[in-house]
Symmetry: C2
Subunit: 389 residues, 2 copies
């Protein structure tokens, strides 16, 4: 999924150094289709939306067809692309709030990008990085009734340039033929279960955006229920890979946590419980300390606002990622009391880089949720508190 190879038809990409960053570091990225595309987007729900988010929402509301490119710039969040008369292009920005784009450099970057379009997805992934430590790419192909289509994407996150937030950006391209409505509903569904299920620190950027372009170059339509289901699964896999990569490369992250909740009345309640645990500084610092502090997990669930049933709540931990209950899961908490678990076994699991948690809220419902999250380390405080010093 992440070897940066993509034979996706009819797309060319580029990552260039426009001069927004120093020392030749790539600072703009381009994903360009040879043919007009169906486009879909999901955006931050923050009330303080950045200009490029408003621009894209306005464009996609007016029409979801005819797009040719996504252009991403770093170092400035506050794009003013309307002045340039750029049409059929969706935009993304990440960087400093309240500064205007240095338009000379942007124009230079656009010239370089236009001249350099090719198939180097790693360069494109590097071109959208801020404080990310590595480029993020995922790609998969799926056989449908009419032939094979490919889905490829890049993402960034986990970075912050003063005084902006950690912005999450994703660009997904496919050579399938997709109706705009299908593209939008499948992207929204995939994002709901992947990009919207990752927690670094609980904050939400003014710029978070995931865009998808479908250029149809494969000649394969996605219309039958079976094909839609297969495409949906492939899009979910690419989105999950891109989203998990953001958590693993989160600011100061030393541990990757899969947080599963079941036994809630509905999925929304389960998500609310999982989010309370994932955003708890006490839980996150315990993970950093490799300390089997399960009491903090249960207590965070208890304050989530969902009326979990204390004496029917259960908790298991398992070494590894993306695991629910396995033969190796350690049962820590049952009937409102700790089990007679082995402290040494618990400590050994918490010492692993990947840990899966399963909390049963004891409410007897079918609601469940998964959130991928991370610990809270000295380096998080350093990156976000000390970066000017």
């Amino acid at each position: 999924m992440s070897d940066f190879q993509s034979d996706i038809k009819g797309f060319r990409v580029a990552g260039v150094h426009a001069g927004l960053k120093k020392d030749g570091v790539l600072d703009m990225a381009f994903v360009v289709s040879d043919a007009p595309c169906s486009a879909a987007g999901v955006f931050t729900t923050n009330q303080m939306k950045a200009a490029p988010v408003l621009v894209d929402i306005e464009k996609l509301t007016a029409s979801q067809t005819g797009y040719r490119a996504v252009v991403v710039n770093t170092r400035s969040a506050n794009a003013c692309t309307g002045d340039q008369g750029v049409v059929n292009v969706l935009v993304m920005s990440t960087g400093v709030i309240g500064t205007h784009l240095p338009m000379e450099k942007i124009r230079h970057g656009i010239d370089l990008g236009s001249a350099g379009l090719a198939h180097d997805w790693e360069a494109a992934a590097r071109g959208i990085m801020t404080t990310d430590t590595r480029p993020k790419f995922a790609s998969t192909s799926v056989a449908l009734s009419g032939g094979t289509v490919t889905i490829s994407g890049i993402s960034k996150g986990a970075g912050m340039i003063a005084p902006n937030m950690a912005t999450m950006l994703g660009v997904i391209a496919t050579d399938a033929i997709l109706a705009p409505e299908a593209a939008q509903s499948m992207l929204a569904s995939a994002a709901r279960h992947t990009f919207n299920c990752i927690v670094i620190d609980g904050d939400m950027s003014t710029n978070d955006t995931v865009l998808m372009l479908a250029n149809g170059a494969s000649g394969v339509s996605v219309t039958s229920p079976d094909d839609l289901a297969a495409f949906n699964a492939a899009l979910f896999a690419v989105s999950k890979s891109l989203a998990q990569a953001i958590v693993r490369d989160g600011e100061g992250v030393t541990k990757f946590i899969t947080l599963n909740v079941q036994g809630a009345p509905d999925d929304a309640a389960a998500h609310q419980i999982a989010n309370a645990i994932a955003t708890s500084p006490l839980v996150k610092t315990a993970f950093f300390g490799k300390d089997a502090n399960w009491g903090r997990i249960v207590a965070a669930a208890g304050r989530s606002g969902v009326p979990i049933v204390a004496d029917r709540t259960q908790l298991w931990i398992t070494a590894g990622s993306d695991l629910w209950l396995t033969d190796d899961s350690l049962h820590l908490f049952e009937n409102g009391m700790p089990t007679a678990y082995s402290e040494a076994t618990a400590s050994a699991i918490f010492a692993e880089p990947d840990v899966s948690i399963l909390l049963d809220a004891g409410m007897g419902g079918d609601g469940k949720a998964t959130i991928w999250t991370c610990d809270l380390s000295y380096d998080y405080v350093k990156i976000n508190g000390d970066y000017r010093s």
Copy 2:
């Protein structure tokens, strides 16, 4: 308010070393009335309530009169006081979840406390400390139509013993004659605007409790509307002092932030906005870094769930605590854009140990809220991640 002197009538207190902690450190506290008291309590809303919380709720639900004492133990959160046949006593515990009380030591402590009851409120305040670095006490007297009454209290917070949460405890005593219903409604109101308006890290303990005893030893009844209002104001002042002391002594705290929100449709919406800002790790690390990162404050407000109006939102900062808009306030953000403020002035304000923030949500309503909070420092991560190492 905090010189540990109290002439409150008919109460005796003690802080003793029962042997729960090492090296003679005070580890139990007693607040005892010579006469039976009206009692009131406010408790954690966490679904995972600790045993002493359940015991107190059960007792106060059965009767709010006839109480003689509050007993507090540290080092174990899971009191089993029912077994002891202690009646007319309310209990508080803070310490390790899942361990039973060492009853021999508790009995020894009760013997010591009974023998040592006096007027040393500092010892009582020290007896409830966990990782608090200093004892917390507040007292005030208020002249009513029938004479003068006194309100004194102790609090603790901001501490954590593995694997328990940072528990907030408060005990307030008054020599006024209070009907149980009035005591409960005034304590609930004071707590709502003080103890429930402080944020260290957004987590909520399984043990949080504030109890009030009114023994009537002053012979002064609080019944007329004027007297009730005057008593209410005095109780608010004591509660605010105790609550603010908890924030100032928070784990790793280097900065005390007064966070005011106005221009919301109602107080609940204003509180929701303030809470989103106060629990934002990005905002808290920026305060730690003494960085005028106002963009993080506005963005946190934007994701609070309240539909604030981006282009009517305003932000001011002021050096000092408990300040709204003053002549010295610096206007940072207006009409969705930064003002032409002086970066040097902004940095100087953020470098102060006490900073007041005022955010106008631009929604035109009368709703407002205040939350007192703090920064997120290396020491917070150290205390909560590394304490076993």
